[in-house]
Symmetry: C2
Subunit: 238 residues, 2 copies
């Protein structure tokens, strides 16, 4: 199988191919939080790119998760911390979701053949789905304001490592090699490795460094959220 | 000093800040070749983004280096191999130059405060210039058709390592950490490390793998080419 990793949504047009399966990853914290919400019973997530659209949904009675620059937007029910999306609040509900980078990455790749939400929380089920799809797989890192970040790159490396253990893997570009190399350095203790990253500093400054540790735990929310182009919603394939 | 690395020209708008010093790097082979041409006596290099513009210069009597997809364009005097730019041909001449990625990277950053051409060939003089400038330094990797590549990333890591040995360095973003980490893995034998890269395979397929070894040698052409916004030419600062 062929696998690649695109380190920023801005670069996606240069990686895009027909029939790709794209795994969108925003480890700190959007895609981790989405997995948690689904694992706690959410019926669907509606990703929207801008705050005003989220506000209109809120007025219609939807639950809204909205974050900018690591903080909850004032009118929203939730920010971007996975711990906020508790079963008693989210079970059976559709949640509108907008975050600094994660929802923009979904927007960039929404016309691909299959778009899955990936995080360390669901890495094994995502690897299974990639493996059984028979498609070229591109990990699309959400990054930070268009820039490359460490935590999404590491997730890409971790996923490629899993895939390369199960099948002969052809790398689509050097970015896949870079991600795999970094994961090889970080895999013994990703949290320690990421303590020098930009976003860990931002989370610490916002008093939510506990989120970072949770976001790096593997297989805590073994769900498979998939984007449906017809209705613009994320729902579970399983 | 603050340093950062931008892994593709496509991402440059997301890294750009006022007063930046930008070091453009296209290790295989454009910026290496430019350093060689200057070291062999070229008076100036005029980077142009498209083939037709290069053809018009050729009709006016300029020497032209033009490469697409690792091969010389038919009407050109040179391709993109540093070995072609011999002293007896280039000394005292102005050379028009267009390559797949390198000249596009220059185009992307040409409005920055100071644009230098960097390669392993001139890494120490570039490090000196960065250090004494007092400016924020951004290494701009030419990449490959918008995508990230390994050799330019490694050069970025090598330059940041040099700067961090001379001064307290603040990283502008995680990309700087990524590049430095990779250089730490590759620095004992960059050529062996790069044998698994995409572009090494392309060079080998074109029969010019000898170029790759040359492009990784350090300080073979200790010149300091700088872009002049007024006339669109690269000339030597020293």
């Amino acid at each position: 199988m062929t696998v690649d990793i695109c380190l920023s949504p801005v670069l996606y047009p240069h990686y895009q191919q027909e029939n790709d399966l794209v795994v969108v990853a925003d480890i700190f914290r959007a895609t981790t939080t989405m997995c948690t919400a689904f694992n706690n019973g959410a019926a669907a997530i509606i990703p929207v790119a801008d705050i005003e659209e989220a506000r209109r949904y809120r007025a219609e009675g939807y639950l809204v998760g909205a974050e900018r620059k690591t903080r909850r937007v004032e009118f929203a029910d939730f920010g971007n911390s996975p711990f906020e999306y508790r079963p008693e609040i989210v079970a059976g509900r559709e949640i509108v979701f907008t975050t600094t980078n994660g929802t923009r990455a979904i927007e960039a790749a929404k016309d691909c053949d299959r778009l899955l939400i990936g995080a360390f929380s669901n890495i094994d089920v995502v690897a299974d789905a990639c493996f059984s799809s028979g498609k070229r797989v591109v990990v699309l890192c959400a990054g930070w304001n268009g820039r490359v970040n460490l935590e999404d790159t590491l997730f890409g490396g971790a996923l490629l490592e899993r895939l390369s253990k199960r099948d002969e893997v052809v790398f689509g570009s050097d970015a896949a090699r870079i991600a795999l190399e970094l994961w090889g350095k970080a895999n013994r203790s990703p949290l320690d490795y990421l303590k020098k990253s930009d976003h860990y500093s931002r989370l610490t400054a916002s008093g939510v460094e506990g989120d970072a540790a949770y976001c790096l735990q593997q297989n805590t929310a073994p769900v498979l959220p998939c984007y449906n182009r017809e209705n613009g919603k994320l729902t579970l394939l399983r």
